[in-house]
Amino acid sequence: MFLTLPEYDKFMSLTWQLQDDKSELIEREKHLSDMFELSQRLKQQQASLDKISSALPAYPDFPSLMIFLNEKASESGLIVLRPDNVSTVYHVSGEEDTEQGSIGIKPIEFDLLLTGKYPSLKNFVRSVESSSRLIRISNIVATEDEDFDLYVYQITLETSFYQN
């Protein structure tokens, strides 16, 4: 009895441990298989993923945004006077950062001063709203420039980027 019991206990304990480890292995294999399947399905939807990446770029990319806005303004018949209140902060990939809230969606908000006529403004607003990058126009202030029979529009734009 005294000889066998400790060995028996050890045997039983190892049996339970083996069962637990086997369950964990099965669970992990299933998890991996699900991930693989999901990854394959996502690869088939690459076009949609590209759209999301385009809507939410990985960094502010303010220059590209300004190029886009200048093009749209020009196509609509407006002249961009200048951007205003621009400030973008982001952390480059791989940088050690323990700051809370540094990962996720980061907003960018700035003003754009334009001049032109009302129909041009409306075309511009529609073009910006239908762009692949998610841009919101939260504010429009229109003031008359009597000297040139035009309006000066101060537009507040809000967009976001994805901080990894």
């Binding site: 009895m1 000889l3 066998t4 060995e7 028996y8 050890k10 045997f11 190892l14 049996t15 441990q17 083996l18 480890d21 086997k22 964990e24 292995l25 992990r28 294999e29 991996l32 991930m35 693989f36 999901l38 990854s39 996502l42 993923l49 999301i52 809507a55 939410l56 996720g104 969606i105 403004l121 409306k122 607003v125 529609r126 709203e129 998610l134 919101r136 126009i137 939260s138 504010n139 429009i140 202030v141 229109a142 003031t143 008359e144 976001s160 994805y162 990894n164």
Partner: protein, 174 residues
């Protein structure tokens, strides 16, 4: 001559033999059991090591990278859907402005705040009759929640200027 009579051997009682036999069998069983369990435990140890190794083998850099990528996508989808739900179209507020301003009323300036659902304007008209018609249009528009007018003045060109604040229903721009 004396006769030698051999002494009869005294035999142990039968139950002592039985106890001895049982004890012997028990000892053999205990030693056998110990050996069996020890060998089995070693075998189980080896199997556990194998399973643990298989678990470790699953965590290849490729699999870890795939998991990280999927988690990134998951967060991105969640954030994207949140952003989409908060999206609004300011052009619809401009449509509202166009359809509610009287053809004979001019705007000198306006301030559209889509996030607050508010439009502030400085309007001008030739006479109070036109302003009355303008206010009637505002009153009959179900997209508007509140209309405030103030600062009625006649400017140097003889036009009546007045300030208007329109509060519109936020759902019209979503």
């Amino acid at each position: 001559m004396p006769e030698i009579i051999p002494r009869t051997k005294s035999r142990p009682p039968w139950w002592i033999n039985l106890i001895l036999a049982v004890a012997l069998i028990s000892l053999i069983a205990a030693v056998g059991g110990q050996i069996f369990f020890r060998i089995s435990a070693k075998d189980l140890d080896r199997k556990i090591e194998d399973v643990k190794q298989q678990i470790v083998d699953l965590r290849t850099p490729v699999n870890q990278e795939m998991e990280k990528q999927l988690l990134t996508y998951q967060t991105q989808f969640k954030n994207f859907s949140q952003l989409l739900s908060q999206r609004y179209l300011t052009s619809k507020a401009l449509d509202l402005l166009e359809t509610t301003i009287h053809p004979e009323v001019l705007y000198e300036n306006f301030m559209l705040d889509a996030s607050e659902g508010k439009i502030r304007m400085l309007l001008s008209a030739q006479n109070y009759g036109i302003i009355g018609e303008q206010l009637m249009i505002f009153n009959n528009d179900s997209r508007l929640k509140r209309v405030e007018t103030s600062n009625y003045e006649r400017d140097k060109d003889g036009l009546i200027t007045f300030r208007v604040i329109l509060d519109f229903i936020p759902s019209i721009i979503q």
